[in-house]
Symmetry: C2
DNA sequence: TCGGTTGCTGAGATCGGTTGCAATAACACT
DNA sequence: AGTGTTATTGCAACCGATCTCAGCAACCGA
């Protein structure tokens, strides 16, 4: 590859490099014959424009960072997959940035992306703390958050309605005949985790029931602890709502190891709608988040903000996904 | 941010930009006082060099693409996690590229990365076909493959010893008393899938046994089909080796839905060692691949090749990870 | 004191594009 | 034919670094 630059193409096509440039990035500004000729020549040479050089000059690129705390978590993996597609469809290239929850790394990615002239970025929930770093980043660039942001309505967000999700779960379980429904909370200090828990608390209280929080911890082992708590109860609930699918997996696994069967002995419902849930044992009933939609919308919001400066907060509706981990309560 | 360029810093520090450049990228070429002064000034201004501009001029960047077919598959997610870390440790920035198995996309990523002056790339197993696209890419750049590459010993690879992995699985099962051990194959036409299957076939034959292939299909539903096959047999095996953890999950799930319990009715062992397996029901016994090591080594190989042109083929040893999905055969 | 090193810094071309501005061509109209 | 547009294309500066080459000062030995 004798370094295919724009000048090479220009020479080969017998025009000036600015014309070649226009042929690619502003087609209407070049006589169509000329443009077609140039494109043909370029094609023949196997030439593509350097995104680097473009970004440098234009001061804006098509790289859009997706910042997630842990790609190993299937939720983020599915989000990443959806967003990759969404980004691709709109001519962007998604750059996955994994922080492992390290705020320093988050910061590093922010500035790196700033330097890459990313037109905007997408941040998925890790901790609430983000908002500070975000402020700095958002100074020059735009961010949209897949979660809520505390005290900063200036950043667009897309979330799913936690309260409605819990409502759906509760209704499903009640419809099956359950009256005693426990709850195991989710990971870290994210808003979504908090919201779901609050919703559970309020909704059960509202309907005259007594909330049964099996574990309100905030790490990955909440599921296991919740299961243990369940086992120690004299009068355990007949159904359990897990704050998310991963926790549900852990609950079922831990329960299974103690000989408690799902859904025969206790029903368990998750929250997320991971594809993986279909392959679980038993297949997990869950409240499905429209992950793919979230990806699309996140990008739309970002673009919209870039254009008219609008800051929207979209709230999506979750859906019930009935599989095998729930059934009527044991008689 | 009034566009912090190297010239701004230069002016502020009262030196020429080339000196600033050197202060950052070739410290020993600048008088230490000068350098410290420059660094201090830069620090104060909050200046960082533009990776874009650097890459453009140097014709080499620190972006290293990791090309995977599907990030939703936990194996690739874990690999990505490990490699992100490994890359980071060495001053690179991993760029995750998800192809969804689409060769066109793979190709697109290759040329994009070429344009980004990536010093090398890492490709994780998707299909064998890759080798062609790779040739083109490898022309200007280096690639290391996490799998084997057919008929092209010129690209470094890191793999784990499939034969040994299957041996370990077989030994574990036999040690538990199993004599009739079935096999369910893995995804797509990757070498690893092929190797594991071959190893199973050879090793069982070698020890005088009869191979029982429950499904040799090549898609994600192999697990389900394997389970169905199992159910239809008059004399089903007492243990099953799944080509990888995901398949094992599917097998157990499908079996569970038909009332077959693991490990009470049949033992199942996976291959991969996914963290997720620990949260499965039951926790999955599996042959663990040293994923983190693979990441480290892949990058090492790439760097080594860049330096002395050596092309190594590293083969790692898998380990047995006993959890709850295997036990002695039913009497 | 003078030629030869050595150490450090400045100049300016260059990487691969983009873009405002000027120049030229082509076409319309009086 | 003369003048006013309008469509195309060339020119050259610029984006933010890197790097070779040259200049200059201090230092060495004879």
């Amino acid at each position: 590859m004798p370094d295919l630059s724009i000048d090479v193409v220009a020479k080969a096509a017998g025009v000036h490099r600015s014309t070649v440039s226009r042929a690619f990035s502003r087609p209407e500004a070049v006589k169509s014959e000329t443009r077609e000729h140039i494109l043909r020549v370029a094609e023949g040479l196997g030439y593509t424009m350097s995104p680097l050089a473009q970004a440098l000059r234009r001061k804006t690129s098509t790289f859009i960072p997706l910042i997630v705390p842990d790609i190993t978590n299937p939720f983020f993996a599915e989000l990443a997959k959806a967003m990759t597609q969404a980004a691709d469809d709109r001519g962007y290239q998604l750059l996955l940035c994994v922080t492992n929850g390290d705020p320093a790394k988050t910061d590093g990615y922010f500035t790196a992306m700033q330097a890459m002239y990313a037109p905007f970025g997408i941040v998925a929930p890790s901790t609430k703390v983000d908002s500070e770093a975000m402020k700095r980043f958002a100074f020059g660039h735009k961010v949209v958050v897949i979660d809520r942001v505390e005290g900063d309505a200036s950043v667009p967000t897309v979330t799913v309605d936690s309260r409605q999700g819990i409502t759906i779960a509760l209704d499903h379980l009640r419809g099956l005949g359950h009256t005693s429904i426990g709850y195991v909370s989710g990971i870290a200090g994210t808003h979504t985790a908090q919201d779901r828990m609050d919703a559970y608390l309020q909704l059960t209280a509202l309907s005259g029931g007594t909330p049964i929080v099996l574990d309100s911890g905030s790490d990955l082992d909440a599921g296991t602890r919740g299961a243990e708590h369940f086992l120690q109860m004299d009068n355990p609930p007949t159904a359990i709502i897990a704050a998310n699918d991963m926790v549900a997996f852990a609950v079922i696994s831990a329960l299974g190891q103690r000989g408690v069967r799902v859904p025969e002995d206790v029903s368990v419902i998750g929250f997320d709608g991971l594809a993986l849930g279909a392959r679980f044992n038993p297949p997990l009933t869950t409240v499905r988040q429209p992950i793919a939609d979230m990806g699309d919308i996140a990008i739309e919001l970002a673009e919209k903000q870039n254009i008219d400066g609008s800051v929207d907060h979209i709230v999506l509706e979750p859906q019930l996904l009935v599989r095998g981990s729930t059934s009527g309560p044991r008689k």
